[in-house]
Symmetry: C2
Amino acid sequence: MRNNYWQLLFSPDSVALVGASNTAGSWGFGIMQHLLAPAQRNVYPVNPTVSEVCGKAAYDSVLDIPNPVDLAIIAVPASQVAGVLGECTQKGVKAAVIISGGFAETGEAGRKLEAELVKIAWQNGTRFIGPNSMGHADTASKLSTLAWTGKIAPGPVALISQSGNYGHRIIHNGMSSGIGFSKFISTGNEADLHFEDYLEYLAQDENTRIITGYIEGLREGRRFFQLARETTPGKPIVVIKAGRTEESARAIKSHTGALAGSEAAYAAAFKQAGVIRVDDDDELCDVVLALLNQPLPRSNRVGILTIGGGLGVVAAEACEREGLKIAPLATSTMEKLDTCLPPRWSHGNPVDMVGISMAENPAAFSSLWALIEDENIDAILLQAPVGLDADRLSRMFDNEEIKSFQEMERRNLGLLRQQVEEHEKPVLLVKPALEFATDMEILSSFRSEGIPVYPSPRRAARVLHHLTRYKRYLETAEK
Amino acid sequence: MRNNYWQLLFSPDSVALVGASNTAGSWGFGIMQHLLAPAQRNVYPVNPTVSEVCGKAAYDSVLDIPNPVDLAIIAVPASQVAGVLGECTQKGVKAAVIISGGFAETGEAGRKLEAELVKIAWQNGTRFIGPNSMGHADTASKLSTLAWTGKIAPGPVALISQSGNYGHRIIHNGMSSGIGFSKFISTGNEADLHFEDYLEYLAQDENTRIITGYIEGLREGRRFFQLARETTPGKPIVVIKAGRTEESARAIKSHTGALAGSEAAYAAAFKQAGVIRVDDDDELCDVVLALLNQPLPRSNRVGILTIGGGLGVVAAEACEREGLKIAPLATSTMEKLDTCLPPRWSHGNPVDMVGISMAENPAAFSSLWALIEDENIDAILLQAPVGLDADRLSRMFDNEEIKSFQEMERRNLGLLRQQVEEHEKPVLLVKPALEFATDMEILSSFRSEGIPVYPSPRRAARVLHHLTRYKRYLETAEK
């Protein structure tokens, strides 16, 4: 048996589920399904009222399990948890996840019960997640102690969440944007392990490139900021910190018993530690998508490439409201654009190509190269239709022509990836009004070249705001 | 031939397209496709270089058309437009749409050319849309002079847009949320007909219940606000007014030659006229969806129903940031919720049902009725999973049970519609993290009962902000 509790928590060889159940719809059933899915570790259901759970022999107590147990998952009524935890420590279990609720979040009696758990664990050198946790997951070791969330796509993003449901929301939102996760922890009441412990661990975790979090209140604020300051130069930290308003702070207290704390203190500290703070799960996923795929912009000067004047106007406004600059174009860029765009182009930034479509005309890609090469520009917001009207194409071109057109597009998309890397300038795409199935295909070909696609200029501009501030923080931190 | 130019513009019996073309991908081809689609009016292509266009005999000039022409669409190079318009007036055409660009938006020479068009039209009593318009559409008369936008779903929302492309974006965004349109006008340079003219017409239009707009700069500000003040008590007006920042104002000038005008003056005037002003096409569609389907809330006190503490926290924060109040629950509501929810429920607003799912448990609907009946609450934000895990359901219930469950849900959804109307309290649903195909089905069953579904609490809260302010305006205006 191994004794590093992180390894036992995230990559156990054997797991006992106390409160395992055959009742579909129950936690003890849902968790069992997730535990059994990978079939690569020993899973011991514990339930004194049945002889087997989901085809596995059930034990009356963890003490009856004949083999060592790395990790215990406890999903029994609150009143039984202390007893079960005591048996676990007796069995030599050094890591646990306490799913059961009904502790500090419910008031004074629950707080006492919770203190009892901590005492039992600490006396025996056992560490635990929860109570009142929705479980945790590690996609590399294929462990999931969750009951509901389903299969999580693997990837380099870790999530520490002080709300199980909100974590669930972030994970599903992320997966639908193509984001994969390394580890997920629903921290619950944090009676033993704190948000800060998970942060410290993930800062060292090789499978994690970005750490994200949903925070209601931090128990060790000073330690959090010390850790964050050490981590952000190498790994971005992106968090939602709720509780900025009176009623949301009150709601936090009734949710996990945490104190939302001083908003001003949090805001200042996040800034000083280079933590990227976002408002909600959409914004979190938006920023993560860019951090995963795009370089940080050197500064805040944005070039906007669009096919319509109005689209450019709204994008410019969105950028300026996020503290970005609409850069004047270099003379050489003006000259380049004059050679590839119709005479009516806007002759300024936003670059309105007056109707030329990215998909139809190499001129659009030439314009994009001109903007990427412009020394006045640090980042590009692309608001051009990437869609091809398949029907229209088939009326304009024969099959051979369509094929050669598609090849050209593939070449240009490959080149785009190169240009982004070479010039270290992020390119973000704003999803155009989609009409045709082929539009979606072309969108996904941009995505597969690492160009994030956002639903509105507002959201793309917000991402650039965060990237710019983070870059500035890193430069200052280096000095 | 009729002589009300509005009727000629929106419901012509006969249309001539000058610049009609067989070249797929050209404006003259795209417009021809849209004109011919409904096959309920005479369409005369005009093009001296070909003998027929899309199977219709082509004329060298409108003067050669043997029958009367209600509406002329002009899509020829700028230099030829004055000549064509002259021929149209000679023919007795009283309404025109000038698609051609290259006028005031391009500088001094273009401005002169544009003034020439106005002179020709006015001397002959002809009115026109444009120039530099992307066309217009009327779904009732099945007229579309657009080249690109495709089929527009019919419905009660009119759109006047000072950007063709942005209008296109709004329409596609709207249609994807289930919004249908009565009329769409891409106003172009507004040499003759102004935004204000369209507004005045649509205020009287029986097919239009809501007027939306994208505005860069108004030519007759005073008239706009007079009209708006008269209209908003009966028909909501929802607009995007761009140009709040320096560079976006500059971009407007290069787009349509308009002046963005004083932001402070616009903001004050919109407020005084009860105009709902939104930031972008997402927000526009969000508000329209609620206005179409939900009553206005009496005031700003929101009840939040959720299945997770964290979800409630973030929703409460989003509401408060939009100036809404998280109402304390009435004692009677607390008592009702105590009878239908597990003892661990949050005992306050946000109402955290601690895991109960709307789809699984009648208790969730009972909780919803309790909130709707609460005198302290004016509107409800529902952040509960409407999704059913089909797989899980099939493990928990047999087919008969599933069927009866589904029937119960249908009954509850019907009841929800009744409750909303009876109590005049809007109910907005925030889309949960979706995992299963059945989730989408259930979402659409909420939608079909007129419950709008929003992607985030932020967007739902923003909608309630607008509805509340509009309601307050209407009450003040009545006095």
